[in-house]
């Protein structure tokens, strides 16, 4: 699929996924969270061998199962039927989450409701009083990789920045997000705050500062 910008200042979701995918190195062990991050699997560079982990107990996960290949015993974390690649392995939940918690995965890719400038993540609950809570592996994924990448649109549909000074939604993890891939820019987050490392199209730092209300550094990192 094409990863060219669809406008002069923003990326589509596929373009965000494609950009993120380019930062996953050859040989990496990667968990793609449910929802938006699964798009990344469509853009993994074909000249790299990247091994996908699914938290429900598998390494070497292949693409979604096509019709006629559905195996109810072989599903991903989103409970979607998937396939098995040569060199796959299965393990139980204790071992699978130990693998995550122990920092063995190179990259986790997650979606978010909010991310703070220091890398706090809110992606499991909107805090709505009548909502039925469900956390699943979100908190394990948030702390469960050498690098945690988040992908999301920078602003909500109402135009409110989802990159914030301090998260107002319930937290998933503290200071856990390393890189934030959005439709407008790519950020590096640390205890020092947010640094823009790539601007989408004609987007400017001033625009981003206006949108987020944050003081942002800029340091272009060559891919």
């Amino acid at each position: 699929m094409s990863a060219e910008p669809s406008s002069s200042t923003s990326w589509t979701r596929n373009e965000i996924a494609a950009r993120l995918a380019r930062d996953i190195p050859d040989g990496a062990y990667v968990n793609l969270g449910i929802g938006l991050p699964t798009l990344v699997s469509n853009f993994l560079p074909s000249d790299r061998e990247i091994i996908l982990h699914t938290e429900n107990g598998m390494l070497g996960m292949g693409p979604e199962a096509a019709e006629g290949q559905i195996d109810p015993d072989l599903i991903n974390a989103g409970k979607i039927p998937v396939t098995e690649l040569p060199g796959a392995s299965y393990f139980h939940h204790g071992d699978s989450f130990g693998m995550m918690r122990g920092g063995h995965l190179d990259v986790c890719v997650l979606g978010a409701f909010q991310v703070s400038k220091t890398g706090d993540l809110a992606n499991w609950s909107t805090g709505a009083p009548d909502a039925i809570p469900a956390v699943g592996g979100a908190m394990d994924l948030a702390i469960g990789a050498k690098q945690v990448f988040v992908m999301m649109e920078l602003a909500s549909k109402k135009g409110v920045s989802k990159l914030v000074e301090t998260c107002t939604y319930p937290l998933t993890g503290l200071g856990c997000v390393d890189r934030l891939y959005t439709d407008r820019a790519v950020f590096e987050l640390s205890t020092d705050g947010a640094t823009v490392i790539e601007l989408v199209g004609a987007t400017t730092i001033d625009e981003l500062q206006g949108l987020t209300g944050l003081e942002l550094r800029y340091r272009k990192i060559p891919e």
């Binding site: 938290e55 015993d73 299965y90 592996g137 702390i143």
Partner: protein
């Protein structure tokens, strides 16, 4: 000669008591021990505490047990799903208690019960609402929360093959919670497609040693069921 095979699911679950804590394996439908849950429904025990990753799918299995008002409390990581309407309605009406646990902490608490660990410090959930009120500690510059083991009176799990000693193998991602729940329960009941001769399972490939299994219920080949038609 040891034989752990029960004559039926009903016989295997006859002694489950009201108020028991029951672990139920499975992640979504994969590895959910449907026949055992149906037998538990039939058996009638109530006021149960259920430990399971999800809170039921559709109208069958765990969802049916919850729908029959037999579950006082559920300990799980992900109750809300697209097809969890039975749990959802009961939860909103205050008809079921929920202890929400991050999935990895749920798994590790179950593993700790089986492995004789009194409590453990986990990084997962630190600083979040799910760690509120829990003891915390900074170790080597990292922040941890103290979590305690989860024990059960009975574990209901699903595996692929057993031998008469209760050694088990699983199939693909349906393994999920089975091996750790088998260790955490006073009585572990497993449903399997088939029981094979002792020695027919490769000792290197046994996933759950028979020491963790008390009763085996044979349910017949999964490939005979419609859902497995594609990979028969």
């Amino acid at each position: 000669m040891i034989s752990k095979t029960s004559e039926s699911a009903a016989a295997a679950l006859a002694d489950v008591a009201d108020g028991a804590t029951i672990m139920i394996g499975g992640f979504g439908l994969a590895g959910q021990p449907m026949q055992l849950i149906d037998a538990l429904l039939e058996q009638g025990a109530t006021d149960l505490t259920v430990v399971s990753n999800n809170a039921g799918n559709g109208d069958t299995g765990l969802a049916a047990l919850i729908g029959a008002r037999r579950v006082r409390k559920i300990v799980c990581s992900f109750p809300r799903q697209t097809d969890s309407h039975i749990f959802d309605a009961l939860y909103r009406s205050g008809g079921i208690e929920l202890e929400l646990v991050p999935q990895g902490n749920l798994a590790e608490r179950i593993r700790a019960a089986g492995a004789g660990i009194g409590a453990f410090f986990t990084p997962t959930g630190f600083g979040t609402a799910l760690a509120e009120g829990k003891e915390t500690r900074t170790i080597g510059g990292r922040d941890f929360v103290l979590e305690h083991p989860l024990f059960a009176d009975v574990a209901l799990i699903s595996a692929y093959r057993a031998d008469r000693l209760g050694n088990l193998t699983y199939r693909k991602t349906s393994r999920n919670f089975g091996p750790i729940m088998a260790g955490a329960a006073a009585t572990t009941v497993v449903q399997v497609d088939r029981v094979v001769e002792a020695g027919d399972l490769d000792p290197e490939a046994v996933v759950t040693p028979g020491i963790f299994v008390n009763r085996i219920v044979v349910t017949g080949d999964r490939f005979d069921r419609e859902e497995w038609a594609d990979v028969r």
